[in-house]
């Protein structure tokens, strides 16, 4: 069988690297390797040109304000148009937090100054008064596939969606895009943009698999993950489990334990609210 290679374009790995978001790249590599897919992580630093028609999945995280101003010019002038074309042509893309905002039409920084994004996604971001910080649980709907997604959000921006994008999901617990309309994230073609850290992919493997599958099928029509057999490694988890739960994968175990924490915290708050 021909070797399959997944090229991951990692935008600004040393600058846009908040909150463990590099774990998303680790997750893509890990889930790909379970299927015998090799990964090749290509760092895209300031000054680096994006190789055309090569990258299957892009990832861009958020940065501290200072770092974000350092990459801004490079992002807009050198990479912006290419990324926009890639997104239009169906390359998979995961953008988190600051990365999400930069893909939109515009965002506001803390002092109210409006800054242009690349407009690859039909969204815009305003500065919020209060930060949304905490665990978050959403009901995702990804092209008809429904599942829960968990993460940790920490953002001041309030993002509003235009007509050509769909939200990633509905907020069950937490703030989401703007703490008002109950949506979280944005989906456009094979791009997922979200405020969720955690990092998001390790505990939400369905999203990881979506990005791998869509990224590869964009260049190999008809490619599905089901067509590549899962290596023994993963099947074996049933026999020698890390915990008492015999059937789940490690991602599912982590997902359900954190989900439980999020829900029990919410219930506790509700209790307190009732008593007061």
């Amino acid at each position: 069988m021909k070797k399959i290679i997944l090229n991951i374009g990692y935008l600004y790995p040393t600058l846009m690297n908040l909150y463990g978001d590099r774990g998303n790249v680790t997750a893509l590599s890990y889930r790909a390797s379970l299927r015998g897919i090799e990964t090749n992580v290509i760092p895209l630093r300031p000054g680096d040109k994006i190789p055309k028609k090569k990258i299957h999945v892009f990832f861009m995280g958020g940065g501290q304000d200072k770092e974000q101003t350092l990459i801004y010019k490079d992002f807009i002038n050198l990479k912006g148009q290419i990324l926009k074309d890639e997104i239009e042509s169906g390359t998979a893309f995961l953008a988190v937090c600051g990365g999400y905002q930069l893909l939109g039409h515009s965002y506001e920084v803390f002092n109210g100054e409006k800054i242009k994004g690349i407009g690859a996604l039909d969204v815009y971001t305003e500065a919020g008064k209060n930060r949304s910080i905490g665990n978050i649980l959403i009901d995702a709907d990804l092209y008809g596939k429904k599942f829960e997604v968990i993460g940790f959000e920490n953002h001041g921006g309030r993002t509003f969606l235009g007509k050509t994008v769909k939200p990633l999901g509905k907020v069950i617990i937490g703030g989401g895009n703007n703490a008002s309309d109950g949506t979280e994230g944005a989906v456009y073609k094979n791009t997922i943009a979200t405020y969720l850290h955690g990092p998001i992919l390790p505990k939400n493997p369905l999203l990881t698999d979506f990005l791998i599958e869509r990224g590869l099928s964009n260049y190999n029509k008809g490619f599905t993950l089901d067509s590549v057999k899962i290596l023994k490694n993963e099947k074996n988890t049933a026999k020698k489990p890390v915990v008492s739960s015999p059937v789940s994968s490690i991602e599912e175990i982590a997902f359900s334990s954190v989900r439980e924490i999020i829900i029990s915290e919410k219930n506790k708050k509700r209790e307190l609210f009732k008593r007061n």
Binding site: N17, T26, G134, F152, I250, E251, I261
Partner: protein, 460 residues
């Protein structure tokens, strides 16, 4: 008059909270006292005959402070210092109250305070220090402290506005710390490492500060030791690592129980230091302590024996012997701190057994994402691992993603059971590395206390 009443109330609260085992009594009495009398810290701290000394850093401040304290005591100085990492306003107030006389007098030479980097800007005015030591700035609990660059500039601004300029003791290898000494009317001492064989350049992608603080260009490094600490220079402007007054050279790693290095003081003067604790971060802490003590006329020659015997504060390379097995408890709280510990462990010949305890309570930081910035890949050939704490499953997942085989990992939420399980996985004579986050450390220490004899923490 106010001060006498406040001190008295504070002392009563310290007594009661310890008697009744409420919070160890190291912060709560001070919190109440400051409410009653906001000038308390100012009034008490101005009375030291040789003034106050402040130590701040993201990582290593508790250990460094303890080293300085042992040096001062050794030299016969009387001092007041905040123990067990009670480094916010309330903790400092408590230690002052505890040492004051009933009439609100401080009959001590020196006040030595470890200060949380977040409260530093407001506290420095009250303490009016004679010397300020800044060890490093790393990213730590962004939900609590905010961004590193902003934190550093707040500290610099606070120092610039002081009327009596303190002497600064600065880590030359940390660009953001070194920069604090660049401008302003400060006397300063720089310390740093100079040992090319410890270079980690190319082995790591993590870096908190990789741009020039002056002109925003990307910094280059000749050598890197920990995170962004190293021999840096800006290719565009003149900003670079300042030359050092105290330099560690020829560092020789001697397993997990120690290391030695040469302390270079001047061109012709070198002193051999033996340390009972491993890792380059311990070298930095020692350099910081030696530099500061030198400023107080305590010379490095007099410290070699003392520091060879130095035992770190609790939870920092704290060693317990249980069933003839060595348990090393090392607090992990942020990627930079965790990485240096993981790297130190990875250099050992034998595969380690581990107990990780990951909590997500406010004192730990609610967001556990940071474990993906820590290089658990460094120890992925480990012998066995138990994952514990509220977020045990997250920890297990991180280990699997780091390449640890699933059948080597088990999850156990109960602190006692997790500890027993981990200890059982070690052969007699072997080592267990117990790496908890802050609140998990307190809980697991109680379990350790049941299995061995350790003191309760305020007794230090």
């Amino acid at each position: 008059m106010f001060i006498i009443i406040t001190v008295l109330i504070g002392k009563i609260l310290i007594f009661l909270s310890r008697k009744l085992h409420i919070g160890g009594g190291s912060t709560f009495p001070g919190r109440v006292a400051i409410k009653l009398y906001p000038q308390l810290i100012k009034r008490l701290s101005r009375q030291f005959s040789s003034g106050c000394v402040i130590v701040t850093a993201t990582n290593g401040k508790t250990t460094t402070t303890r080293m300085i304290a042992s040096g001062l005591k050794h030299a016969g100085k009387s001092l007041v210092y905040n123990i067990s990492g009670a480094n916010m306003r309330s903790g400092i107030a408590t230690s002052l109250i505890e040492s004051a006389t009933l009439l609100g007098r401080m009959n001590y030479d020196i006040g030595l305070f470890e200060v949380d980097e977040g409260v530093f800007p407001s506290l420095v005015k009250d303490l009016n220090p004679r010397i300020v030591l800044i060890g490093n700035f790393f990213r730590d609990q962004l939900d609590r402290y905010g961004e590193v660059a902003i934190l550093a500039s707040k500290i610099k601004n606070a120092l610039d506005t002081l009327k009596d300029k303190p002497h600064l003791i600065l880590n030359a290898d940390d660009p953001m710390v070194a920069h604090i000494g660049e401008h302003g009317d400060f006397q300063k001492t720089y310390f740093g490492i100079d040992d090319k064989k410890l270079d980690i350049k190319g082995q790591t992608t993590e870096s908190d500060i990789n741009y020039c603080v002056v002109c925003n260009s990307f910094l280059e490094y000749r050598v890197k030791y920990i995170g962004h600490l190293g021999d840096f220079y800006c290719p565009k402007c003149s900003f670079c690592r300042p030359s050092t007054d105290f330099t560690a050279k020829s560092i020789k790693n001697e397993g997990f129980d120690g290391q030695k290095f040469d302390l270079q003081i001047s061109k012709h003067k070198r002193i051999l230091f033996n340390l009972g604790i491993p890792g380059e971060h311990s070298v930095y802490n020692t350099l910081a302590a030696v530099s500061l003590l030198h400023k107080l006329d305590i010379h490095p020659e007099t410290l070699t024996g003392l520091f060879a015997e130095f035992r770190p504060p609790y939870g920092r390379y704290e060693k317990f012997i249980i069933d003839k097995k060595s348990v090393y408890m090392i607090l992990i709280k942020n990627p930079a701190g965790a990485n240096v510990i993981l790297r130190t462990i990875s250099r050992l010949k034998h595969k380690g057994s581990f107990l990780f305890m990951l909590n997500d309570l406010p004192a730990d930081g609610r967001d556990v994402s940071w474990i993906f910035d820590a290089h658990f890949e460094l120890i992925n050939n480990l012998k066995s691992a138990v994952a514990g704490g509220r977020r045990a499953e997250d920890m297990a997942l991180r280990l699997v993603y780091a390449g640890v085989k699933k059948n080597k990992i088990s999850i156990e939420h109960d602190y006692g059971k997790a500890l027993d399980k981990a200890i059982n996985s070690v052969n007699p004579g072997g080592k267990l590395f117990l790496l908890p986050t802050y609140t998990a450390m307190h809980s697991v220490r109680a379990e350790l206390a049941k299995r061995t004899s350790v003191s309760e923490f305020w007794k230090d």
